[in-house]
């Protein structure tokens, strides 16, 4: 297993390097730099600014400089927020996004898995149909429609909570519910399918035949196999929740990294874009690896290869 992890890590290095290189050079070929938006910058000031940030050096040297500072864990200064480094901005904003993301994942798991299990046990009952409709609604009503609708109803119409912001625990409810619901829907669908497949297998019949109670059959025997498709889906789900946070943070005005990333893309804040892209890519690669390991752990038939 250690060899598997080590190999995957080694494989990751060139991938991340390619991402950095491609993003770095492509950003520089976009018309307009980070200082074009600022009004009335005289050529002298512009030159000084460029000298300050090292933008007047040859492009390739900028690239190698960046890589060297990267090895020291330094993501460079932000071009838009003077006197702030990318490290500071990420340290400031990432916890918010992580909180949003992990709470949403919890919402998705807590709603999705029980719903799928119940739907599979009570197949073709009203709860099964409810589950199917919920899954379909979750898949077809995107977060950027669901979120504003929830705000319209709960915050504006009923006045139960704030429409936006990230201060009190109540403020967490709507964003996490919005983001979590979509994935709860997928998870319910997958859990139901996985459970149905497992429940028809021979070893479940054996378990029932030897007199195990229905609860035991489901929780001890079926769930482990039935949740396999769910674990496979967790990789894409985590990536989706991360990118989904761009929209959620925009809707609910949450000061997280997702919104910062979109702003930095608009601002051509080269270093901040690079740093964030790298962070997201790294995060997703590591989490995918964790998902792969969990998969083998749950399913002894698979092997690390």
């Amino acid at each position: 297993m250690l060899r598997f992890i080590a190999r995957r890590f080694l494989e990751t290095i060139p991938v991340v390097l390619i991402i950095i290189t491609a993003t770095f050079f492509m950003l520089r070929f976009v018309p307009g730099g980070p200082f074009t938006a600022e009004k009335a910058v005289t050529p002298e000031i512009l030159r000084n600014l460029e000298a300050h940030y090292g933008l007047n050096k040859p492009l390739f040297q900028q690239y190698t400089d960046y890589l060297v500072s990267l090895l020291h864990g330094d993501l460079g200064p932000s071009f838009k927020y003077s006197n702030r480094t990318v490290n500071e901005i990420i340290a400031d904003k990432l916890p918010v996004s992580l909180e949003l993301g992990s709470l949403s994942l919890v919402v998705a798991l807590v709603i999705g898995i029980p719903l799928g299990v119940i739907a599979a046990i009570r197949r073709n009952s009203w709860i099964d149909y409810l589950c199917s409709s919920f899954a379909m609604i979750g898949i077809c009503v995107p977060t950027f429609v669901l979120g504003p609708l929830l705000v319209l109803f709960f915050a504006i119409h009923l006045g139960w909570m704030n429409a936006s912001g990230w201060y009190s625990p109540v403020d967490r409810v709507l964003p996490c519910l919005t983001l979590g619901c979509v994935y709860a829907a997928y998870l319910a669908r997958l859990t139901r399918g996985g459970m149905l497949e497992v429940l028809s297998l021979d070893y479940i019949r054996t378990a029932r035949a030897k007199g195990a109670s229905e609860t035991r059959v489901i929780f001890r025997h079926a769930l482990r196999g039935g949740l396999l498709p769910v674990v496979t889906f967790l990789g894409p789900a985590i990536a989706g929740i991360l990118t989904g946070s761009f929209v959620i943070e925009t809707i609910f005005q949450i000061p997280g990294l997702g919104r910062e990333f979109i702003t930095s893309v608009f601002n051509r804040d080269y270093t901040l874009v690079l740093g964030t892209v790298m962070l997201y890519a790294g995060l997703i690669i590591v989490l995918n690896l964790a998902v792969d390991i969990a998969q083998v752990w749950l399913n002894p038939k698979l092997k690390f290869e």
């Binding site: 197949r123 149909y129 379909m136 077809c140 761009f246 990333f261």
Partner: protein, 323 residues
């Protein structure tokens, strides 16, 4: 999957006529699809929405026309779905936005389809080391945050988009096509990331079909490689391709709306459903209809496409390899 109950049993009332002529697999699939009510309803809704979007703007008010007497008015007889803050008819804007959304969905899917089918077929045919390397690349890209790539691509290609726009305006003298460069960009950016699943599916299918006996038989009959590919392999892969193309369209439309919502996709004066939803969500506190109607139409379209896709999957009996 959803309990759409795939009534895949062959119909009992097979006429003698049918028996004599036999029935093609496509005919069988059509018979199965016809019995799947959600899929048929989805198809009908989709056709109605598409026709309205294509023909509607010819008859209704222009999407740009402003009714300054009725600025931001609630739904009424004059404006069925109300007007926006500039006094433009929302119904006309939804229809016009639908053109863009549906077009992006369709064209980007074709782009993704072309890349994916070619890539997957090549990998499947060649097999061996080439296949291993090609699919490893797909695996690696799969693990990356591709939404982020689309966002970056949209920004990187701003320059080319502006070139296309100025070419359209100055050389081709096409007025009213402003912002079209950005839409072309969307096709490319979305197509560039959505082909991965298609490549995997096609490759898997080609790999298994390649080893089947009827291919061996075709080879034994002395048919050339091209004939085997086009007459024997491609028709057998067509089912999964159709199914996944149907399911890619909503995914692509979702991505387009996602980008437009963030302000990175379609730019005004063009509009798409995603853009309308963005506008609506900003103004919803006073003018709820600006959010509810575009969002509703968009969701309805996604519903229909997903039901149709699921129905086609059952009808063509495609075993999903990955879900």
């Amino acid at each position: 999957m959803v309990s759409l109950s795939p009534q895949s049993l062959p119909s009992a009332d097979v006429s003698v006529d049918q028996l004599e002529h036999g029935s093609s697999p496509w005919h069988d699939a059509w018979m199965r699809l016809r019995k799947n009510r959600p899929a048929i309803v989805g198809a009908v809704v989709l056709i109605v929405i598409t026709l309205l979007c294509i023909a509607g703007p010819w008859f209704s008010q222009s999407y740009r026309e402003q009714d300054l007497q009725l600025v931001a008015s609630a739904p009424s007889g004059a404006h069925w779905l109300g007007t926006d803050v500039l006094g433009r008819d929302l119904f006309a804007r939804i229809l016009f936005g639908g053109r863009i959304s549906l077009m992006v969905g369709l064209v980007a899917t074709v782009v993704a389809l072309t890349i994916g089918v070619t890539y997957g077929a090549v990998a499947g045919f060649l097999g061996g080391k080439t296949d291993a390397v090609m699919m490893r690349i797909v695996d690696i890209i799969y693990a990356l945050p591709f939404t982020i790539f689309v966002i970056l691509l949209m920004v990187f290609m701003k320059g080319p988009a502006e070139h296309i726009d100025s070419w359209l305006r100055n050389t081709a003298h096409l007025d009213g096509w402003q912002g079209f460069g950005n839409i072309l960009l969307l096709f490319a950016a979305i197509g560039a990331v959505e082909w991965l699943t298609m490549a995997r599916i096609v490759r898997g299918q080609v790999l298994s079909i390649k080893r089947m006996e009827f291919i061996e038989a075709a080879r034994a009959l002395g048919y050339g490689r091209r004939r085997i590919i086009f007459r024997h392999i491609i028709p057998n892969v067509l089912g999964p391709i159709i199914v996944y193309a149907t399911l890619t369209v909503p995914a692509v439309m979702l991505l387009e709306a996602f980008l437009s919502f963030l302000g990175l996709g379609v730019q005004p004066p063009m509009s798409s459903w995603g853009w309308l939803i963005k506008e609506g969500s900003e103004k919803m506190e006073e003018f709820w209809w600006l959010l509810v109607f575009p969002g509703g139409v968009f969701s309805l379209t996604l519903f229909s496409l997903n039901f149709l896709g699921d129905g086609l999957r059952d009808a063509l009996d495609v075993r999903a390899s990955k879900d």
